[in-house]
């Protein structure tokens, strides 16, 4: 037999065992394969959608606040100086600035004449209450003793005890804390609102009103010339008394204690951080008001 490629075609012929595969078997296995493929596609789609959704949620979530800020700021509401009808409209309005409603009180610097305080003498009880509050609110800080620093009459009435100051010493160095006292007429809330931006702060202060009607208003830190930073709180009593609590990064001279005068160092090494956080200042004011 001469082998040629044509002989290969004979392999299709000849005896063969009967096939065991039926159409039903093939169709059943084929349908199962179709279902498995559909299930695989659905699984992949679900996974992709899940991954995309997860990515979107993570990307859209607000950035985590730095841990330093957490626990340092008061969670009190910010003062809103607008009339109530403006606040109502604003609540349902979009976040974009509305020229009819004016600037956002949280971020806009106010204008206009602000009332002046009539300064009065500080009572001994105030000194004790504030010092005790400082010790409780600042357990890591060495609280100094009060000393009168002003021999200059502030706006309004007063004398040598118009403003007193003590040193606050911590790991960052020596800082300063002072108090002064004044009086006002009218309601505590109205007067607190009138003094919402008295420190030259553009951000609104935070406020809490006690059950007795005492208004505690904590202001944001305000930088001044000569690298001085001040952070104040004011406690408005319903009987017309107001106590001003002021934390500073450095001691300043009596000259700069006068309203409107630039800050001048009272000597000593420069310190850049305030001796307490906003929350701690609020706690000092609360302890004082509750004492």
């Amino acid at each position: 037999m001469q082998l040629d490629e044509g002989a290969l075609s004979t392999l299709l012929d000849g005896p063969a065992p009967a096939p065991t595969t039926t159409l039903a078997v093939v169709v059943r296995r084929g349908r199962r394969q179709v279902h498995l493929r559909a299930l695989s596609v659905a699984t992949v789609v679900v996974l992709v959608i899940g991954m995309v959704s997860g990515f979107v949620v993570v990307a859209a979530s607000p950035p985590v606040s730095p841990p330093v800020a957490a626990g340092k700021e008061l969670d009190w509401p910010q003062v809103d100086v607008r009339p109530p009808w403006m606040r109502t409209v604003r609540a349902s309005a979009p976040a974009v600035p509305d020229p009819l409603l004016g600037p956002d009180p949280v971020s806009a610097c106010p204008t206009g004449v602000q009332p002046q305080l009539a300064f009065t003498s500080i009572e001994t009880t105030d000194l004790l209450k504030v010092q005790t509050a400082l010790v409780r609110a600042l357990p890591e800080t060495k609280v100094g003793t009060w000393q009168g620093v002003s021999s200059i009459s502030l706006t309004g009435t007063g004398g040598v005890t118009n403003i007193v100051e003590l040193d606050l010493t911590d790991s960052d160095g020596v800082a300063s804390f002072s108090i002064s006292r004044g009086s006002f007429t009218g309601s505590a809330t109205d007067y607190a609102t009138a003094l919402a931006f008295v420190d030259g702060n553009c951000a609104a202060p935070k406020r809490r009103t006690t059950s007795e009607g005492t208004v505690i208003q904590v202001y944001p830190p305000v930088p001044e010339a000569n690298q001085v930073v001040r952070m104040k709180a004011r406690v408005f009593w319903p009987d017309g008394k107001v106590l001003i609590l002021e934390a500073r990064n450095v001691r300043v001279s009596a000259y700069s204690a006068r309203v409107g005068m630039p800050s001048v160092f009272d000597g000593g090494p420069v310190r850049y951080s305030l001796p307490m956080t906003e929350r701690q200042l609020g706690e000092v004011a609360e302890l004082y008001a509750a004492a």
């Binding site: 290969l8 004979t10 000849g14 078997v25």
Partner: protein, 164 residues
């Protein structure tokens, strides 16, 4: 719609299953493996049947079958009927069946890739271009594999039979 599709496939299956089972047997030399290869190929074609055009169904089936065979060879899963030694002369004298067995045994001595080319080209009677499509290679590759496959086949074919 499903019914029409299944009827078309049933007609396709009935007309071709035995032919492709024989082609598979020429490839692997084992009827049970050939049955598995053919069945698996038809299952895959059924799963794709809505997307398979009837005029190209045969080409698709050939591709599936050949790749399934080559895959089993790569994985070493094929239980190919092994022939330790090709008989010197056809069993039973001049009978055609015996000659077929000698030829089949010689074909199994050809490497799987070249064997696939030979089976598609001469057993399934495809053109060089059709074989190239089925194997996913160039026409030139088919030609060279054909030449080598034939040489291997002749080398495996018994001398005594060749000289008859």
């Amino acid at each position: 719609m499903l019914r029409v599709r299944d009827e078309e496939f049933a007609e396709f299956f009935s007309a071709r299953f035995d032919t492709y089972r024989r082609i598979a047997h020429a490839l692997c030399g084992n009827w049970s493996v050939a049955e598995e290869l053919a069945q698996e190929s038809f299952v895959k074609v059924y799963a794709r049947w809505p997307k398979v055009r009837i005029e190209s169904a045969d080409a698709y089936l050939r591709t599936v079958l050949t790749r399934a065979f080559l895959d089993t060879k790569r994985r070493g899963l094929a239980k190919e009927q092994s022939v330790a030694e090709v008989p010197d002369s056809p069993v039973g004298g001049e009978s055609a069946v015996a000659e077929q067995e000698v030829l089949r045994a010689a074909l199994l001595g050809v490497p799987p890739g070249q064997r696939a080319v030979l089976v598609l080209r001469f057993v399934a009677d495809l053109s060089v271009e059709e074989v190239a499509v089925a194997l996913g290679c160039s026409v030139g590759t088919v030609k060279s594999q054909t030449a080598r496959g034939l040489a291997a086949l002749r080398a495996a074919y018994p001398e005594s039979v060749r000289c008859n």
